[in-house]
Subunit: 203 residues, 3 copies
């Protein structure tokens, strides 16, 4: 086991990034609710995305100004930008719903947002334990399980979009939204894979 | 010329990856045949993709547990995941054909699958010679030539899709399938480029 | 401040890459003009893209054959291929306009091309100063500002495409073109980010 410097700021910042994702998924769920004020939710999402960016930049500044980092510099970059990518994909979903003026969203989309909420909670829960990356095995296995469930749901949603129920122009809009949701879930899986790789290197 | 350790398991595993791609392209060709049982082909494709994953994981485990690797660790990762990406793209094609319930596919798609079959055969044929990466020049030139041919065919196919012959909803479905085929060919080119880079470093 | 070897060929080649992008954006503007001979513009774009490839390869050959490089080898690769990606995205725009036989393009597209022209000019103007990467702060801030403006315009364009003014098949075509323009602007932002990272490392 390698000696790990005690600079706990990195773990605090990764945890902060994960907490922004919990906020983001809550806003996504609100966006999908029929009665929500979509303009207002989108404004708050933009603010959340901005906060997440701040945390990411703080992490990158710290990695650039720290001589001995807890993990390889490139792994810290990869993890920080991996977490940031999740937020960007979720922001994109909210943005498209507003931009395309989609009124009624298929129920399958709520199931994808539930998967995303579970991913965000798990990430926020485990991130403080990153100091011992090997101990996160349960985390990356569970994220991979959630991604599989999300993928099955994604395929069901696509099949429904093309079932003849929707006008072609609506299919075009909804497909973009559905694919951004899928991309957000994939981005969580990528985060889990990065952590697994860090753990493998440390072992 | 650098001393190269004799651990031949890496070359055997890369060759195994390439052989999975030969299987994958054969299944793709079967999927496109009008009379095929698409559910059954898709099931076998899923199994082939799973087998390919196993080989990729075996390669990554080996790279992580080996002290002296035949090439830079990051190049082995890049090549292993490059080969894995080809399989994922081909799996996506099969998946979309089943999911979108496309009955008749334009003839241009078969030409793209022929390009893919030629790429897979070439890759399987040359991979055992990876121990002397510079000797693979003919391989990467030929893959680049095939990618150019595939690109021309891809553009012809897109022009046909938008010619007015197809209903818009069908264009939307076929465009996804056609783009996944193109992505699979591009993924082969990326593999060839990685090998060229390895050869350059070694020279 | 690190000692920097005097091999000025790298800076000359990066500047050459940027100049190809100035040519590319001029051709894009010509392609959008209603009266232009689109076949002819596309032929010249193909030639420009080919020239840009030559410069990229010259850069990569030089990095592979030079013992002491002005920046980390991987940063030179990243910057060279980042600049090359911009050209590829612009070539894609020209290609799609020809391929899809789009006759009338929404005015919003010209605004995106103006953003691209400004990005290319800035890049060509600043690239010769790359020897002192920290001095390029004004450059990367301005590119980020342009990318923000481009993003706002992109969203307005998408909203217009889906406003009901266009037939669905036209939306499908125009959306591809509009997204390639956006990808070209994003590719410029990526170049600016790479330069910022190089500056951070040097400081």
């Amino acid at each position: 086991m390698r000696f790990r410097p005690v600079d706990s700021a990195f773990y605090a910042l990764f945890t902060e990034q994960a907490q922004h994702l919990v906020t983001g998924t809550a806003l996504l769920a609100e966006m999908l609710a029929e009665a929500s004020d979509k303009e207002d939710v989108a404004t708050r999402m933009r603010a959340a995305e901005h906060d997440a960016d701040e945390t990411t930049h703080a992490l990158i500044r710290r990695v650039n100004s720290t001589f001995v980092t807890p993990f390889d510099r490139e792994d810290i970059y990869a993890l920080a930008s991996g977490l940031d990518d999740v937020m960007d994909e979720m922001d994109e979903v909210v943005d498209l719903i507003l931009l395309y003026e989609v009124k009624v969203l298929p129920a399958e989309l709520s199931q994808q947002v539930e998967v995303l909420q579970r991913c965000a909670e798990l990430t926020a829960e485990w991130m403080p334990k990153l100091q011992a990356p090997q101990s996160l095995e349960e985390y990356w296995i569970e994220i991979n399980r959630l991604e599989n469930a999300g993928d099955k749901n994604h395929r069901r949603t696509l099949a429904r979009l093309f079932s003849g129920e929707y006008k072609t122009i609506e299919v075009l809009k909804l497909k973009d939204i559905v694919e951004s949701l899928e991309a957000a879930i994939d981005a969580f899986e990528k985060v889990a894979n990065i952590i697994e790789q860090i753990a493998v290197k440390e072992s």
